[in-house]
């Protein structure tokens, strides 16, 4: 509630500053397959599933100066899983971003600062909470065909409730997570209608691995809670890990304002005690920008 006390006057002030602000709208539909949804190390614990994700973003942009643009965007997304329905979720977020272009034209560097707060509402109530993101990113278009970008992002996830402790001495806040992410990426038009994109990200922070009782994972973890979403006798373990990810995608322009993208992401996480896992994600995404 405190947040809204300053957000609403801020938005009102922006409208007073620039009554000609324009709406930014984007809608998307994504089919996502994850071959290791549990982020587990052992085959017996690995669960895969496919989710349908619907998203929309609407907001206002304020061109404050020739080079500076402030945008306030409301994001909505919903995911429906085929097998593990406890992961079905509906999220609503608010993002404030400031973009600065260092000059005139499409080839000058751009700086983007953003912060967002997203409400997470899962069918599995213990996963409900808030996700806060802060990001600084710089991007530069090298030519009509290519561009590069780099970003640093901090994430903090806070759950509404903490599950009952399995043991008095063991923390159970498995869905209270923090991480730092450093990402490098680029895109290249391989054809006037097709863009190839790639990104490499290093994430340092908490991960959640859901397994059966597992002593090595237990020893590496900082919090444990029952996780019935993946069946009885499953436990979510929170651990510190370094995760490296490589994402690749080919995006096709559909009618100028829309795109259809096939994407692949490889995740490799390594926690202390030799706990590591790999995951592969495949995405088919349609996005339309108004």
């Amino acid at each position: 509630m405190t947040v809204w006390k300053w957000v609403l006057p801020f938005v009102w002030g922006l409208h007073a500053l620039d009554a000609s602000a324009g709406w930014l709208d984007e809608v998307g539909l994504e089919l996502r397959f994850d071959d290791n949804l549990t982020r587990a190390q052992l085959d017996r614990d690995i669960k895969s599933d496919t989710a349908l994700v619907v998203s929309a973003a609407a907001g206002t942009g304020y061109q404050l100066t020739d080079n500076g643009r402030l945008s306030l965007t409301l994001t909505l997304s919903g995911s429906a899983y085929q097998r593990y329905e406890g992961l079905n979720n509906l999220n609503a977020g608010l993002e404030l971003a400031y973009r600065w272009k260092f000059g005139l034209g499409p080839y000058v560097p751009e700086l983007r600062l953003s912060g967002s707060a997203t409400r997470l509402d899962y069918r599995d109530a213990p996963r409900d909470g808030w996700l806060y993101l802060g990001e600084i990113a710089i991007a530069k278009r090298l030519s009509d065909r290519s561009g590069i970008r780099m970003s640093y992002r901090v994430e903090q996830r806070e759950s509404d409730t903490v599950a009952d402790r399995l043991r008095p001495a063991i923390a159970a806040d498995v869905f209270d997570l923090t991480s730092q992410n450093l990402s490098f990426g680029g895109d290249y038009a391989i054809h006037p209608e097709y863009v190839f994109s790639a990104a490499y990200t290093i994430r340092d922070g908490d991960i959640v691995s859901t397994t059966r009782r597992n002593l090595p994972v237990f020893l590496a973890s900082s919090a444990i809670a029952a996780d019935p979403v993946f069946g009885s006798g499953r436990f979510a373990y929170k651990m510190k890990a370094i995760t490296r990810s490589l994402s690749l995608g080919v995006s096709r322009v559909v009618g100028g304002q829309a795109s259809f993208t096939l994407g692949y992401e490889y995740l490799d996480s390594r926690a202390k005690g030799g706990i590591d896992y790999e995951a592969n994600l495949v995405r088919a995404t349609y996005l339309y920008q108004f």
Partner: protein, 227 residues
């Protein structure tokens, strides 16, 4: 009458029709050039500009054009994509969107900037040197358009069928040129000489090479919202 003609030309340019200018007096005996611009596959090329340079420069209007025509900004796009004008033409850039645009060009033929604005700028931009001028918007990088500034009053833009007609040409010798935003090679390489008579029409066909159209895309890429 002058205002009516000006309005007609503005409307034609706005609608993106093949457009023919003739600023010399309309004579009873005037020639025509029927131009066809095709790509290497034989398909008609839209938005090519065909220019007829009279050997006798006095046949043209050395004083240049006096009308003000427009390049619109609608739904975050420039309209038309290609606008041919004569040297000396003033072009206005009304913004029909409910957001601000920032129009600029770095082209040697016209280097200018219209910082953030809505509505119609107070003063049009005078295009006083021949050549192709690339337009951009500093807010929306995908917005691009071209003003082709001709040093001859005789020019036309091809339609979807690749055809354009240059009419009411004084009889005489002309050098023809074809230009397109994606023309492979130099415009001068398309030159050819023709003689225009008082009656009948000269047919001129070009088979031009086009470079691939790599434009900064408007369509979003997943995970890159905000750029």
């Amino acid at each position: 009458m002058k205002n009516t003609l000006r309005e007609l030309r503005v409307r034609m340019a706005h609608a993106g029709f093949a457009l023919t200018f003739c600023l010399s007096p309309v004579g009873a005996h005037a020639g025509e050039i029927h131009a066809l611009v095709r790509d290497k596959t034989g398909k008609g090329v839209v938005d090519a500009v065909v220019v007829a340079l009279p050997a006798n420069r006095s046949a043209g209007n050395a004083g240049g054009a006096s009308a003000t025509i427009i390049v619109d900004q609608v739904n975050k796009e420039f309209i038309p994509y290609v606008l041919p004008v004569q040297v000396g033409t003033a072009v206005n850039f009304p913004n029909k969107d409910n957001i601000r645009h920032h129009v600029y060009s770095f082209s040697p033929a016209k280097n200018f900037e219209l910082p953030l604005y809505m509505g119609t700028p107070a003063s049009p931009v005078l295009f006083d040197k021949p050549g192709a001028v690339v337009l951009g918007c500093n807010i929306h990088d995908w917005m691009i358009a071209y003003v082709y500034v001709s040093d001859s009053p005789y020019f036309a833009k091809t339609g979807a069928d690749g055809k354009a007609n240059l009419t009411e040409l004084p009889p005489g010798d002309y050098t023809l040129r074809a230009w397109h935003p994606r023309l492979a090679g130099k415009e001068e390489a398309t030159e050819r000489k023709v003689a225009v008579s008082r009656t009948g029409a000269v047919e001129a066909t070009w088979d031009i090479g086009l470079t691939p159209e790599f434009r900064i895309r408007r369509a979003p890429i997943p995970g890159q919202r905000g750029y």
